[in-house]
C-alpha cells in the first residue's frame, strides 16, 4: 500500500449563495511540505483554509488528515487533531493580557496532553510568546498591540497548540520589511522543529496564504495558485513564475 498522504483534499466545493468560493479543489500534501497558496483577491484562498480548519463546512468533497476523514468535524476537534490556523484579520481577545490570549490555546486538550510534564500553563504560554518574540509585553492588554505584534500573537496562539499542520493566513500582511524578514525566519525555524523552551515544535507542515511573493518564494517548496475557486497551477516556485496562465491571472507581466 502506498504511503498515506498527510493531507488529502478531494473535490472540495463550497458555494456562498450564487458565488462559488472553491470549485472542486483537489490536492494532497506531504508531512514536511510548506505550500504557498496564492491567487487574486476573492480567489477562495481563505475559504479553502477555513474549510480545512472546520470553521466552514464544504458542500461537497472530502478532507482527509493523516488518513482520517475530518470533513464536517467541529473546529476544536480538528485543532486537537493537530491542525492550527491563524486569522487574516487578527482576532485577539482584546481585553485580556497577551499571556492570557496564549493560555487559552495552552488550555486546549491537545496542548494539555502533550505538555504534561510542564506543570504551569503560564510557563508554556510564555515560551510560545518568546518564540513569537513578544514575551516582553506579556502583561499588556492585547488591545495595545501594533499590527505586527498582533500577527505575532496570532502565530503564538497557533503554535501553542503544538500543531502538525499550520495554516497561516497572510502572516506578512501589514508588516514592515524588517518585520516580514523576522516573521519569515520564525516560520522557517518553526518548520525545522525542536524545542523552544518548554514548548515542543513538531516541525509542522504549513499552508501559507500570502501576497508578498518575494518572501514567500524563499520559504516554500511548492505553490498552488487559485483563481475563481479553481486550481490553475501547482508546482515549484520556479515553474509557477514561468507559467503563462498564472502571469495572466495574478502575477502580471512584471513578474515577481
Amino acid at each position: 500500500m502506498a504511503a498515506q498522504p498527510f493531507l488529502e483534499i478531494s473535490g472540495l466545493h463550497k458555494d456562498f449563495g450564487g458565488l462559488t468560493a472553491t470549485n472542486e479543489v483537489s490536492f494532497s500534501m506531504g508531512r514536511d511540505e510548506i505550500i504557498g497558496l496564492i491567487g487574486p483577491n476573492g480567489a477562495g484562498k481563505t475559504t479553502l483554509v477555513r474549510l480545512i480548519s472546520g470553521i466552514l463546512h464544504p458542500d461537497r468533497g472530502k478532507i482527509r488528515f493523516k488518513g482520517k476523514n475530518i470533513t464536517g468535524k467541529k473546529t476544536w476537534d480538528i485543532v486537537n487533531m493537530g491542525i492550527a490556523c491563524t486569522f487574516q484579520n487578527m482576532r485577539p481577545f482584546r481585553r485580556l493580557p497577551i499571556i492570557a490570549n496564549v493560555m487559552v490555546s495552552c488550555l486546549s486538550p491537545r496542548a494539555m496532553k502533550r505538555g504534561e510534564w510542564v506543570k504551569k500553563v503560564e510557563a508554556k504560554a510564555m515560551d510560545a510568546l518568546e518564540f513569537a518574540g513578544i514575551s516582553d509585553m506579556a502583561l499588556e492588554k492585547a488591545s495595545t498591540l501594533s499590527q505586527g505584534d498582533l500577527k505575532r500573537l496570532e502565530v503564538a496562539r497557533a503554535v501553542a497548540t503544538e500543531p502538525e499542520l499550520l495554516l497561516l493566513d497572510e502572516p506578512f500582511g501589514g508588516l514592515s520589511p524588517a518585520e516580514t524578514d523576522l516573521m519569515a525566519k520564525s516560520i522557517a525555524r518553526l518548520h525545522k522543529g525542536g524545542r523552544f523552551g518548554r514548548l515542543h515544535s513538531e516541525g509542522p507542515a504549513m499552508i501559507i496564504i500570502e501576497h508578498k511573493l518575494a518572501q514567500l518564494m524563499k520559504i516554500v517548496d511548492r505553490i498552488i495558485v487559485l483563481d475563481f475557486g479553481t486550481i490553475i497551477a501547482d508546482g515549484t516556485p520556479e515553474k509557477i513564475v514561468a507559467n503563462p496562465e498564472v502571469i495572466e491571472a495574478y502575477l502580471g507581466e512584471g513578474g515577481v
Binding site: V79, P92, R94, R95, V104, P109, T161
Partner: protein
C-alpha cells in the same frame, strides 16, 4: 511559642503585606467585619430583614455577572433561575417536608438543570438575539405556573414554608455568610483557568474554537454555574419570605438584577455585590423617608432611575471600577496595583508618576 502563635504571626504578616497595602482590599475587609459585627449593635427586626434580602440579591446579581458579564452570554431572563429554584425549594419543603438545608441545595440543582435547558437552545444565539430569547423563558414559565394552580399555587404562589433558621439573627448570619462564601467562590472561578476561557469566549468565540477549546461545553458550564448560584439565592429567598410565587419570575426582577450589576460594575463579581448593597437599602430608606410625605406622588422610582442614569453617564464602567481607578494606580511595568498616593511601585519600584 505554640502553633497558635505561628498562625497568628502568619495572619498578621498576610494582613500587613497583602491586605493593608491596597485601599480596595481594606474596604473589603472593613465590609466583611462590619457585616459580621452588625448584629452586636442592633438587632432591629426590620433592619436585619433589609440586609438579609440585600445579601440574597447580592448572590443573585453576582451570578448574573458570572454568565452575562464574564462569559458575555447576555441573559435578560435571569429571574428564571431564581424563580425555578424558589418553586423547587418550596415544593420539596411543603410536599416532602425537607428541611431548608436539603431543600435549598436541591433547589439550586433545579437552577442548574434550568441552566442546561435554557443553555442548549441558546448555544447558537448571540447578543441581542440571545437576550430576547432568554427574556421569553420566564414569561413562558409564568404562563405554565398559572396553568397548573394545583401544584404551583397559581397567582398566590406557595406559602407557609418552614423558617430558614429559628431566629432573625441566625437568618442574618446564614445569608450574609453564604453571600460572602459564594461571592468569593464566584470571584475565584473567574480568576481561574476556566475563568480565562470564559473571558475569551466573551471576546471572540470563534478564536477560542480555533485555539482547540470546546466552547459549547464552557458556555453550558457558565449557564449551569450561574443557574446554581442564582438557585441558591432563590431557595434562600423562598425560605426567608416563606413564599414562592410568580413574582420571582417577573421581568422586573430580571431587569433589576441587570441594573444592580451595571451600576456596580460588570465583569468584576464584587461590583454587582456592591451595587446591590448600595441600591437595595437605598430604596428601602427612600420608602421610609417618602412615607412621611404622603402628599408627594410616587417619586421613588424616579429618583432611582435618575441616580442610575447619572452614574452610568459619568462612570460608564460602573461605580466600583471607577472608584477603584481613583484610589489605585496600576504599575505600568509589572501591572501590580498600588495606592494612588505612592510614587513608586511597591513591587518593582517602577516610577508611577
Amino acid at each position: 511559642m505554640g502553633l497558635p502563635g505561628v498562625y497568628f504571626r502568619r495572619t498578621v504578616k498576610v494582613l500587613r503585606t497583602e491586605v493593608l497595602v491596597l485601599p480596595s482590599r481594606v474596604a473589603v475587609l472593613v465590609f466583611i467585619v462590619a457585616l459580621m459585627a452588625l448584629p452586636i449593635f442592633t438587632q432591629d427586626y426590620y433592619f436585619l430583614r433589609v440586609l438579609i434580602l440585600t445579601s440574597i440579591f447580592a448572590i443573585f446579581a453576582a451570578s448574573w455577572d458570572l454568565l452575562s458579564g464574564f462569559t458575555g452570554q447576555m441573559n435578560f431572563g435571569h429571574a428564571l433561575f431564581f424563580g425555578v429554584a424558589a418553586y423547587v425549594t418550596a415544593l420539596l419543603n411543603l410536599k416532602l417536608g425537607l428541611p431548608p438545608y436539603f431543600s435549598i441545595p436541591l433547589g439550586a440543582v433545579g437552577g442548574v438543570l434550568t441552566g442546561l435547558i435554557v443553555g442548549i437552545p441558546c448555544l447558537r444565539l448571540k447578543g441581542s438575539y440571545l437576550a430576547l430569547t432568554t427574556l421569553a423563558f420566564p414569561i413562558i414559565l409564568t404562563g405554565v405556573v398559572f396553568a397548573i394552580p394545583d401544584i404551583t399555587g397559581g397567582e398566590l404562589g406557595l406559602a407557609g414554608l418552614s423558617r430558614l433558621t429559628g431566629s432573625r439573627v441566625m437568618d442574618y448570619y446564614l445569608t450574609s455568610g453564604l453571600m460572602l462564601i459564594l461571592g468569593f467562590t464566584m470571584w475565584k472561578i473567574t480568576d481561574s483557568k476556566t475563568g480565562i476561557i470564559l473571558h475569551a469566549i466573551r471576546e471572540d468565540e470563534l478564536a477560542v474554537r480555533t485555539a482547540g477549546v470546546n466552547t459549547t461545553r464552557y458556555k453550558l458550564l457558565a449557564f449551569c454555574m450561574s443557574g446554581f448560584f442564582a438557585g441558591v439565592a432563590g431557595g434562600l429567598y423562598a425560605h426567608f419570605m416563606r413564599l414562592a410565587g410568580p413574582s420571582g419570575l417577573e421581568v422586573g426582577l430580571s431587569f433589576q438584577v441587570i441594573i444592580w450589576a451595571v451600576f456596580g460594575g460588570m465583569v468584576t463579581i464584587y461590583g454587582p455585590i456592591a451595587g446591590v448593597f448600595i441600591l437595595y437599602p437605598l430604596m428601602e430608606i427612600l420608602r421610609v423617608v417618602l412615607d412621611n410625605f404622603p402628599s408627594l406622588p410616587e417619586i421613588r422610582m424616579f429618583i432611582f432611575a435618575g441616580l442610575v442614569l447619572l452614574t452610568l453617564l459619568f462612570m460608564p464602567e460602573g461605580l466600583i471600577p471607577w472608584v477603584r481607578d481613583k484610589i489605585e494606580t496600576e504599575c505600568p511595568r509589572c501591572k501590580v496595583r498600588n495606592v494612588f498616593s505612592r510614587h513608586r511601585c511597591r513591587v518593582c519600584d517602577a516610577d508611577l508618576d
